[in-house]
Symmetry: C2
Subunit: 330 residues, 2 copies
């Protein structure tokens, strides 16, 4: 039997736990160690037989880890960690700050090249699988329009923004694509859609006792960038209802390429990719894990530097041989 | 400005014409020549300024063609042509006889390696984009089920089968996915579906004057493999109606991966890829053309042998640089 690919997880939040679970579904890979900035002895994982180390021990573990999956956040963790560890390990991250991707790529590329490692950045579903679908759609149908819709799903950033309002105890925000907009795109109308026409925002808010509900609702609906450009609905519910009905982290969305072919663009052609995810972090983690396999294989072929899903021959994401893939999936 | 990629087209039916048109949408590529087994002087193309040569002149044109796109059929043309020309040219074909793909790959691989060329086989949408989506779905969600539905669209093979029945003048057959089956899959039911439960077949038939319509309908509905395993409806119409209402070659379909993640597979995850194609050959041709670009780049990197879409880093399908792709589409 072939050796298993040894994977390390840095950061044990929802995403780290998702990677831990996804590895169980991939027998060619093995969870080798957790790394945490917290007290390792206090970290309770779902896989107690796998050791937990403090992050300061990470660099000593180069011989034990084939690929390090970074499970921190894009705001402050990954901008530092990815470039730092790409020198010592093959890494995969889910850096999702679109505007900062070129700079993040450049930093990781330099670091990974210095260490002779491969760094696959911005994996997941958006950026990630949605990006790949946008690329494919653009290559196949150069004459066309791109549409990306997100939801129905929980936006952590918008939920956090509501929680920062005075008098709010807890909140959950759902991003929802406007059905009429989806239908217009599907019908090949190639509409120009405003922000307001594409998505609505649904907020479930638990107010503190005695808080001014009207003021809270007004502050939400007029919050610049986050809510003001959207049609927003606010529902006040109890903490019990929030815990009972809104505990999950579902998400999803649609990438569409509406194009045309023919002598004068007379032939409509439509590509649609849709995700309906019971858990955003578990799905993202599942993408990170097959990307970790690809990173391992790219490194074994002598590749070094930063890459994205755009650079990965899809067969490398699979544990199966090219022959088997051609026979069963082509 | 960078040199344009010079493309040759072998075979000028619906697919060859589609490639001719798709190249117009890709300014980094150039249609260099048509090759035909017919009399070149008699071939009327949409691009009269591009020369038409007899197929016997093809091998003399190695210096003029960067990639040859083979536009013949999978039954008799491609099994011979692809392996023959892969020795002399980088090629792309749309070989779609799934059971024969491993043997076709092996023949093209040997030939392309002998000539130091790249042969990308079985490009298009199925095999092709649908295959790629099946692969991605399997890699991301190892615990899950695959579903592929075709249609609503014209099946040339089934239309031909009806035309061979005595008393039939012309016919068009549509393959139609069963809406209830699609819904069950979308709902995450992971149903086990029989052939009959997945697709129905709609036939539009022009009978010759005086033909026995009951016999024709019976012969269609009981035809083994083609129609017997399906619920089939037969509509007799006039040649004028067929020409007026059924002249197009639309097609499409759905690839779905219904999977689960979590500690005990408790989290449903659904991926759906859908195509709605105004013209099957024009879409297939559009895929072949971006694959031709990738083949050119793979060859320039020193690669030789047979490949499929599974082996192509997606960025190579695009005319844009990696930097531009990361900035605009990631």
């Amino acid at each position: 039997m072939q050796e298993q690919i040894r994977v390390g997880i840095l950061g044990y939040g929802n995403l780290g736990r998702g990677v831990e679970l996804a590895l169980r579904a991939n027998p060619d890979m093995k969870l080798a160690a957790f790394f945490t900035r917290r007290d390792p002895a206090a970290l309770k994982t779902l896989t107690p037989e796998v050791p937990v180390y403090g992050v300061e021990q990470l660099k000593e573990m180069q011989g034990e880890i084939d690929v390090l999956v970074l499970c921190g956040g894009s705001a402050t963790d990954l901008p530092v960690q990815s470039a730092e560890y790409a020198k010592y390990f093959n890494i995969v991250d889910s850096f999702d700050n679109h505007a900062e991707i070129p700079a993040h790529f450049a930093r990781c590329d330099a670091s990974a090249k210095e260490g002779g490692k491969v760094a696959l950045i911005s994996a997941g579903w958006d950026p990630g699988m949605f990006s790949l679908q946008r690329l494919l759609g653009n290559c196949i149908l150069p004459n066309g329009s791109d549409y990306t819709f997100w939801g129905r799903g929980v936006s952590q950033g918008h939920s956090d923004a509501i929680r920062r309002i005075e008098g709010v105890q807890d909140a959950r925000q759902y991003t929802v694509p406007v059905p009429e907009a989806l239908e217009r795109v599907r019908n090949g109308e190639n509409p120009v859609l405003t922000t307001r026409e594409k998505h609505t925002r649904e907020c479930y808010v638990v107010a503190k006792p005695g808080a001014d509900l009207d003021r809270i609702e007004r502050e939400i609906k007029t919050m610049p960038n986050y809510f003001e450009p959207y049609d927003t609905t606010v529902h006040f519910i109890s903490q019990e209802e929030l815990n009972r009905d809104h505990a999950g982290i579902p998400h999803g969305g649609f990438v569409m390429r509406s194009g045309s072919t023919g002598v004068n663009g007379e032939t409509p052609q439509m590509i649609e990719y849709a995700l309906k995810l019971g858990s955003n972090p578990e799905f993202t983690a599942s993408v990170l894990v097959c990307c970790a396999r690809a990173v391992y294989k790219l490194h074994a072929k002598g590749k070094s530097g930063a890459v994205t899903i755009f650079d990965v021959p899809p067969a490398l994401l699979s544990a199966k041989s090219g022959e088997e893939l051609r026979k069963t999936l082509l």
